[in-house]
């Protein structure tokens, strides 16, 4: 078997070469000078058909810079960090605002200030960019605000009017009263309000607690004038927020089944809205757009309004996605051109999201049913208010969700839960 050794060695070497080639990042420039960029986004396929159209249009108009759109859903920014730290990864990455800091600190992203000064954003895009505080760290711009969203009140006008409720609630207290009235007048057939209230780390019940707290002058954490982080709510404020939602369950205004629901797009909630067994909830725009179609098929008309106190500055959150360029890209100029293109008004003609540029947003034709978002967005404030301490927003979210869930399920009182949350926050802020 004299030939065995060279054959085995060749086979092993081939495997190694194939493996390493497969693991490599963006494709190099081809012989004819065509550059291929990889753009990764994390929204589900069902929500990005319009974005795919935008990318196709770019590829048609830019034959020498082709873009391949990757979908990695749900959002997994740690995967991108692992790839980037290994010298690979997509050239352009869609990033949730609250994740930009994680990628900026270890310099995984390319600072964009040089591109911004040499090849600035066009008029009409750069004006009034929202959420810039979520992408700027240590004086540098690490990503570009791309889309903007918030949670608006999604409601069924028929269910409200059937219970004698004329307008959507403008305050949280009004919401509680309306929700109780809807539930009781329908003998429990229609729940007044539905929201995800599970104790899991990513439960969207977190938004309701924060919105209530912000509307009543509190905040979970705040940075003092000396730059030190501390808790920002009194035990009474926090306990009142938790008790508010606990009472909604106790009064039957919110179905107990919601205590096992983690996401605002969970079928328990979306089916309830679509079939009329739930009158009000809160959702971001992309989820609402999909829900509205489903509800129309079921014969239910849904619309939006600002959240309770949603027109008060800072009483709701400003979320959305940013676009960052991988520091490993071999084509930063081309990647920047593509980022500029994605930020332009053209994108939002087919992409079902709101632009982070206030001017582009103003010019965007928005369906009547989505006016709640448009009215509320200028008053929403980003989660930058929680960023920069030793404690991650995800940890705060987990802590708050767990303790609220413990109260909803009868394991704790709201006062005990509030004390636990404040203690956990204080410890977390110390690091």
């Amino acid at each position: 078997m004299t030939f065995a050794k060279p054959v085995i060695a060749t086979a092993l070497l081939s495997c190694l070469v194939v493996t390493l080639t497969a693991c490599s990042g963006s494709e190099p420039e081809s012989k004819d000078g065509t550059v291929t960029l990889v753009f990764r986004q994390f929204d589900p396929e069902s929500e990005v058909r319009g974005l795919a159209t935008v990318v196709d249009a770019w590829n048609r108009d830019n034959p020498r810079v082709q873009v391949e759109m990757q979908t990695l859903s749900p959002n997994n920014v740690q995967q991108f960090a692992r790839e980037a730290n290994a010298g690979t990864g997509p050239d352009i990455n869609q990033i949730g605002y609250s994740d930009v800091e994680f990628l900026a600190t270890p310099r995984i992203l390319l600072p964009l200030d040089e591109h911004l000064s040499k090849d600035p954003l066009p008029e009409g895009t750069k004006e009034g960019l929202l959420a810039t505080d979520m992408v700027t760290f240590e004086g540098k711009t690490w990503a570009m605000p791309w889309t903007a969203d918030t949670m608006a009140l999604v409601y069924n006008p028929k269910a409200l009017s059937a219970a004698g409720v004329k307008d959507p609630p403008a305050t949280w207290e009004q919401l509680a009263a309306d929700a109780r009235q809807i539930s009781s007048s329908s003998a429990g057939k229609t729940s007044g309000f539905c929201f995800p209230a599970s104790g899991s780390a990513t439960s969207a019940g977190w938004f309701a607690i924060n919105y209530y707290l912000w509307a009543h002058g509190g905040t979970l954490v705040r940075k003092d004038s000396a730059g030190n982080w501390q808790t920002g709510a009194t035990p009474q404020q926090l306990a009142a927020a938790i008790q508010f939602f606990t009472d909604l369950f106790a009064s039957g205004a919110v179905p107990k089944a919601n205590q096992a629901v983690q996401d605002y797009s969970d079928p328990t909630i979306s089916n309830g809205l679509a079939t009329g067994s739930c009158a009000m909830t809160y959702q971001p725009p992309a989820t609402f757009a999909a829900l509205r179609e489903k509800a129309e098929q079921a014969g239910t008309a849904l619309t939006t309004a600002p959240m309770p106190s949603g027109l008060t500055d800072g009483a709701t959150h400003l979320g959305g996605r940013a676009l960052g360029i991988n520091r490993n890209t071999e084509h930063p100029a081309e990647a920047w051109s593509f980022v500029k293109y994605l930020m332009s008004a053209t994108t939002f003609k087919t992409y079902d999201q709101y632009p982070a540029s206030a001017e582009t947003l103003e010019d965007l034709p928005v369906p009547e049913a989505q006016q709640g978002y448009v009215e509320q967005l200028p008053h929403s404030r980003s989660f930058a208010r929680y960023i920069g301490s030793e404690m991650t927003i995800a940890s705060m979210q987990q802590l708050v969700n767990q303790r609220c869930s413990a109260v909803y399920s009868g394991q704790q009182t709201s006062a005990q839960a509030a004390a636990d949350i404040l203690k956990g926050l204080a410890e977390g802020l110390k690091g």
């Binding site: 692992r82 089944a257 109260v407």
Partner: protein, 301 residues
């Protein structure tokens, strides 16, 4: 005396396997130990890790939730589910081996059906069960309400009185086939002559089961228990996907604590430290368990 070429051959043959083991098992394990003494986020390159000594272990043992998570892991997640799986698994294995199924030509169908849950990916299994358990639209609640057993749906995964039993149901449903298959293999290896001898000694079915079946299955049961305990103790998927550790922290287990520390709080070092504690606990369990079972085996011999 063997020639030098033949003398080196065993080393040459085992070297590739040793390299694979070192790369895939030893290196990650050693790195996990190193990581447990460092501070590093999932976003930083390995070179940015900062040495923090025993701080990660200190924060685990001062965490007020760790005690209940350890109890939940040992009792609810592991002991209860392994005991139920063993009992049900033995019953099902005996049923599948029974001559009745053979006579009715149902043995093949029954064996295939038992394997179905095992073919379902755990994530899909949990998603289905969450739907079944839903208080409003779940089929279980609809059945219970329609038949008048309940006046309204119960949020099985959201109340403390039902949540653990719901999680246990999911785990047992998905993981039972493994126990059944292994025990069935054990049953098939028991010589028929032993049953015939027992029958000649006027042993009834129960006596045959106690004095022939169980002693012969003993080595298989020992291995099944060891494997299922270790696999379940480290399991993360069922609890995380079905309850997220809730309501509150009522179903939090060590594996979900590990995930939260590493990927929610971004403290890889603390996650690695929890992993080491879990490994140590399982190592102690395996040593004690094997020692006790071996001693009994020796005593019997």
């Amino acid at each position: 005396m063997a020639s030098p070429r033949i003398g080196q051959r065993p080393y040459a043959l085992t070297t590739p396997a040793l390299i694979v083991i070192a790369v895939l098992f030893l290196v990650p394990s050693v790195y996990n130990v190193v990581l447990a003494f460092q501070k590093l986020t999932p976003y930083e390159p390995v070179g940015d890790a900062v040495w923090v000594g025993l701080k990660n272990f200190a924060s685990i043992f001062t965490d007020p939730e760790i005690g209940s998570a350890a109890f939940n892991t040992a009792f609810w997640l592991t002991a209860v589910t392994v005991a139920i799986r063993l009992g049900l698994g033995l019953g099902l294995a005996l049923l599948l081996q029974s001559p009745v199924l053979q006579r009715w030509r149902l043995r093949g169908v029954a064996r295939t059906l038992v394997l179905v849950p095992w073919m379902v990916p755990p994530v899909v299994a949990v998603a289905c069960w969450k739907w079944i358990f839903d208080a409003d639209t779940g089929v279980l609640n609809q059945f219970l309400v329609d038949t008048g057993l309940l006046s309204e749906g119960v949020p099985f995964l959201a109340q403390t009185s039902t949540v653990w039993w719901s999680v246990i149901t999911i785990i047992v449903w998905r993981e039972l086939p493994f126990v059944v298959v292994v025990l069935m293999a054990g049953l098939q290896s028991i010589p028929k002559e032993q049953y015939e001898a027992a029958a000649m000694d006027s042993a009834g079915r129960w006596q045959s089961f106690v004095h022939v079946t169980l002693p012969n299955l003993r080595p298989v049961i020992i291995v099944v228990v060891l494997m299922t305990v270790i696999q379940t103790f480290n399991n993360f998927v069922y609890v995380w996907l079905s309850t997220g550790g809730g309501p509150g922290t009522y179903t939090q287990v060590l594996a979900t604590q590990l995930y939260s520390a590493a990927f929610v709080a971004n403290s890889l070092g603390e996650g690695a430290a929890i992993g080491i504690v879990m490994t140590a606990l399982m190592a102690v369990f395996a040593l004690v368990y094997l020692r006790v079972t071996n001693e009994r085996e020796g005593g019997r011999a």
